[in-house]
Each structure stands twice: as structure tokens, then as C-alpha cells.
């Protein structure tokens, strides 16, 4: 079977966007382009889960076909893993449901078939989730209020890399921060199979400025495309050399 590639944006933020276009719109566009948008909101110790700003997180994830979760700093590591994995399964289930609808008409979903068959389908979904290629672009909010959370974010991301490394399928990660001076996003860690060098880079991330979540998601979306282009350019070069 041809192994497909799942593409995810993982947005890590601690509050509401306050600059540029509506992030919900950007997330929708990303989803339409085959990229799932997941959002993790980090709470300050004194905040409760219903704090303002976290409604937006839910809306972004919903529009982006992904998962959202609000956590306190201490639980970030496990949440990053859980969200990434759940989102993979959810996307794959989405494909399966679409196929089911194609076959049976109307809107037949996995939940509506009998448990016995559901189990068989779920096995296939799990296999796909384990073996497919995964591209995760991590988008870290580095606005002023994130300052005391970046160390935890770094640890959580290293942990994610360790965890996904055990998968059978190939992984690719990239980390971008937002904002970066005048640009909506800035490169922190280029596409790579592991996030081994972030220990060095992460402390250098200067926090500051506004939170342009919308433009950041839009820019992030193009980073998948860029990578693809770069790849095909390499390939073209190889052909030329070989030829």
C-alpha cells in the first residue's frame, strides 16, 4: 500500500491573537489544503480552564480539523504527545468515514457500524497511524507572556520527538516561532527527522511583541509547500547530475 503523508500544524500558545487576520479563517484554509491544525493552550497557574482567549483555541482547532487542549505547564509534555497522536487517528478516521460514505451513501460513519466490524476497521486505522509519514510543523508563540513557559515547551518537544521516533513511519519536524520581529513567523528548527539540536536554539528565542496567530498559521501552511518544492528541486538536480 502506498503510504500517505499526514501534515499537521501544532500551535502552542497562551492566549488570544491580537494582530492580523482571523486565525480561525487561516486554520480553515490550511485544512482545505490538507493540513490539520491542532492547538494547545497553556494556562498560567492562577488561570482556570474557562479563562478568556481559550474559546478561540477551540474554534481554531475546529476549523483546522484538529484537536485542542488547554493545560497547565506541568502537563504539557504528555498533552503534546496525546494531541499529536489523537489528531493523526482523527484525520485517518476522517478518511475512512469519507470512504464509507462513498460506498454506502448518505453519511455512514464508523460509529454507526456494528462494534465487531468497527474493531476491524480500527485495526487498519491504527496500522496506518503507525506506518504513515508524518510532518509536524510546530508553531510556538513567543510573545512576552510565554517567557516563563518556553523551557517547558522545549522539553515537551524533545519528548515528542523521542516518542514519535519509536513509530514505524517516517517523521519530519520543523519549529517556527511567532512573531519574529516584523515577520509573522521565524524559523527555529528546519525540517528534520529529529529535534536533537533544539536545546541549543531554544534559550535564544527572544519573547516579545504581539500575537499574530492568523498570519502565523497562514505562513506556516506555506512551509509545507516550500519543503516539497525544495525536495523536488533536489530531485531535479539529481536527475541532471545522473543524466
Amino acid at each position: 500500500m502506498n503510504k500517505g503523508t499526514l501534515r499537521q500544524i501544532l500551535l502552542i500558545t497562551d492566549g488570544c491573537s491580537n494582530s492580523g487576520e482571523n486565525p480561525v479563517e487561516s486554520a480553515k484554509v490550511a485544512f482545505e489544503n490538507g493540513i490539520t491544525v491542532n492547538v494547545i493552550g497553556i494556562l498560567d497557574d492562577y488561570e482556570s480552564e474557562t479563562a478568556s482567549g481559550f474559546e478561540e483555541i477551540e474554534q481554531i482547532a475546529k476549523a483546522g480539523g484538529g484537536i485542542n487542549q488547554v493545560v497547565y505547564k506541568e502537563d504539557l509534555s504528555q498533552t503534546v504527545q496525546a494531541v499529536t497522536r489523537q489528531a493523526m487517528t482523527q484525520t485517518l478516521q476522517g478518511f475512512v468515514n469519507k470512504e464509507l460514505t462513498n460506498i454506502f451513501g448518505s453519511s455512514q460513519t464508523l460509529e454507526e457500524i456494528e462494534p465487531e466490524k468497527r474493531g476491524e476497521v480500527m485495526e487498519i486505522v491504527e496500522d496506518l497511524g503507525e506506518t504513515c509519514h508524518l510532518e509536524v510543523l510546530i508553531l510556538v508563540d513567543t510573545s512576552a507572556s510565554m517567557n516563563d513557559k518556553l523551557l517547558t515547551v522545549k522539553e515537551a518537544l524533545i519528548d515528542l520527538s523521542i516518542n514519535l521516533h519509536a513509530r514505524v513511519g517516517e517523521n519530519n519536524f520543523a519549529i517556527f516561532q511567532f512573531p519574529k520581529r516584523k515577520d509573522p513567523i521565524g524559523l527555529v528548527h528546519n525540517w528534520a527527522k529529529e529535534l536533537d539540536s533544539i536545546s541549543v536554539i531554544f534559550p535564544k528565542l527572544v519573547s516579545g511583541g504581539v500575537t499574530p496567530t492568523g498570519p502565523a498559521i497562514r505562513e506556516a501552511m506555506y512551509q509545507f509547500g516550500k519543503k516539497e518544492m525544495r525536495r523536488s528541486m533536489y530531485r531535479a538536480e539529481e536527475y541532471r547530475r545522473e543524466g
Partner: protein, 307 residues
């Protein structure tokens, strides 16, 4: 936060409610809630034939289905009760129109390992380690790694006294990445290995299960996690006998559960012989009687090997 996730996943059902399966039409009367986790709530129920069963119900049909798949394949392993026995899988449509998925399993009535040890003494630790190793061996041989091995997922049943694994949510196919884990028991958290599902992952967690009895509030990693854990093992008097084996498991020096079991049994036998010699030399029958009773754990274990 853990709590928040659990609250979101929890499904409150009143005592006395009768759940009727949409597909198989079996009936279950809710008695009380016995647990809740990331993906659902577990209730003690009565079946039509008065049998007590545990029913796990969830809003997340697919996650529940994954667990059912694991239970089914574990139940296929003969003569070895790995995890609870699966009885029924179905959906429940509430009058409110909401639909949930549930599965029904054997009700395992037991107490926590810490409680058992406190009541019955530390001699049982060796017995439980061996029992767990035997179960893990069976599990690994059938191609699975338990994953989320922790004290919350274990119960000790009486007559016969036996460790049972009760939550298979973390059980992962060999070679894949561990599905669910808890920091304290996770070797990757301590920077002492990967999260790849292999037997040594479970063996590490097993040692932490034993350590958690003596450090109920757990402890956190440091820059010298390895030394930290080894020291924490070394300072517990009850664990002196097993120290060498436990430390080897932490360092990932056992590839298989059977290796650890053999090593542990050998250590226990050596000790047993040594005690015997001492006793013979002293010739003090009173002391002998005391030692014999205190070694009942070892006897139990030896007998369990032959039957």
C-alpha cells in the same frame, strides 16, 4: 489537569439505571462507579444472571474499540489470564438521544498492592515480582507490551493471592511506540531508554511499581536520574535481596522477562540456602520456626513454579 480531562470524559449514570445494548440487547444494571480514566468511566454492574461485571463506557467509540481489540487478542492467549476477560461489546443509546459505546469485562475484586504489602508484609514483594514477570512473559510472547504498567493499573486478588493487570489502555504491539504511559514509570522520562514497545520497557516500569510502594508520592527526575533511581532502590531495606536484579532492570540489562525471572529466582534460592545453613549451624529451633514462616513467600513461589 488530569482531573479536568477525566471530568470531560466521565459519564455520570445513576445507581439502578438499566443499560440495554443496541446490538446484542444484553441488560446491565448499574450498581456504582468503580473508576474513571482518560477515555471513559467504569461501573460495577449486575447482569441478568446476577453475575457482577465491570462495564466501561465512553463517548470515544474509536478509542474504546482499540481497547476492545487489545482485550480480544489477549483473551486468545490460552491458560493465561492477561488482563480482564472480555464479555460483551455494544453501544447504548440514552433516552436523551446521546449515544455511547461500552464494553463489559470480568469484575476483578481486589486491593492495591501497597495496601496488601502493608497488611501482609514485605515477603510478598518477591512473589508479586515473579507473578508479574510471568504474566509479562506471556504477554510479550504473544507480541504485546503492557506499556502503562503502574500501581493504579494493578490489583491483588485473594485466594489465590494474585496480581492482576486491570487496564489495557497502554498495551501496545511490540516494536511500535508506547501508546499510553505515566511519567514516573516511563523510562524515557528518566532518560533511560526509548518509548519503543519492547519487553525491557515493561521491566523498567515493573521496578518503578515496586519503588512506588516505598515512595508513594514518587520523586522527580534530575540531571543524574540513573544514580538517583539506583540509590532509591539501594536504601530500601525490604528490597535489599532484590537490589541487584531491580537495578539491572532499570539499566535495561534484561532483554526478556524470563531472564529477569531466572536471575531473581537464583538470588532467592541462594539466600534461602544461606539461611538454611545458618539455621543448621545454630540449631535453634525457635528461630528456625520464625524464619520458616517468614519465608512462606518463597515457598509459595517455589510451589507455584511446579503447578
Amino acid at each position: 489537569m488530569q482531573k479536568n480531562i477525566e471530568e470531560k470524559a466521565s459519564i455520570p449514570i445513576k445507581h439502578g439505571t438499566i443499560i440495554v445494548g443496541k446490538w446484542n440487547k444484553n441488560q446491565y444494571t448499574i450498581i456504582r462507579k468503580i473508576g474513571s480514566g482518560m477515555i471513559g468511566t467504569v461501573y460495577l454492574c449486575r447482569m441478568h444472571n446476577n453475575r457482577l461485571v465491570a462495564l466501561k463506557i465512553s463517548k470515544q467509540a474509536m478509542s474504546l474499540t482499540t481497547e476492545v481489540n487489545v482485550l480480544k487478542s489477549l483473551n486468545k492467549v490460552q491458560d493465561n489470564r492477561l488482563g480482564p476477560f472480555l464479555i460483551d461489546v455494544d453501544d447504548w443509546e440514552r433516552q436523551t438521544g446521546k449515544s455511547y459505546s461500552f464494553y463489559v469485562m470480568e469484575y476483578i475484586n481486589g486491593i492495591r498492592m501497597e495496601t496488601f504489602i502493608r497488611r501482609n508484609g514485605a515477603e510478598w514483594i518477591g512473589v508479586f515480582i515473579i507473578q508479574m514477570l510471568e504474566q509479562l512473559e506471556g504477554l510479550h510472547q504473544s507480541g504485546w507490551v503492557f506499556g502503562d504498567l503502574k500501581n493504579d493499573n494493578l490489583l491483588i486478588t485473594e485466594s489465590p493471592t494474585k496480581v492482576r493487570f486491570i487496564d489495557v489502555g497502554g498495551t501496545t504491539k511490540m516494536g511500535r511506540s508506547i501508546k499510553e504511559y505515566s511519567e514516573f514509570y516511563d523510562r524515557a522520562y528518566w532518560h533511560l531508554g526509548t518509548r519503543e514497545a519492547e519487553p525491557s520497557y515493561d521491566l523498567f516500569a515493573l521496578v518503578m511499581v515496586i519503588l512506588a510502594i516505598y515512595y508513594p508520592r514518587h520523586f522527580k527526575r534530575s540531571n543524574h536520574s540513573k544514580q538517583l533511581i539506583l540509590k532509591r532502590i539501594a536504601v530500601v531495606r525490604d528490597l535489599q535481596l532484590y537490589e541487584h536484579c531491580l537495578q539491572k532492570a532499570i539499566l535495561g540489562q534484561y532483554k526478556l522477562a524470563s531472564e529477569m525471572k531466572a536471575d531473581l529466582l537464583q538470588t532467592m534460592w541462594k539466600r534461602h540456602k544461606k539461611e538454611n545453613k545458618k539455621r543448621a549451624a545454630k540449631g535453634n529451633y525457635v528461630i528456625q520456626a520464625v524464619i520458616i514462616s517468614s519465608l512462606s513467600g518463597v515457598y509459595y513461589l517455589v510451589s507455584s513454579l511446579f503447578f
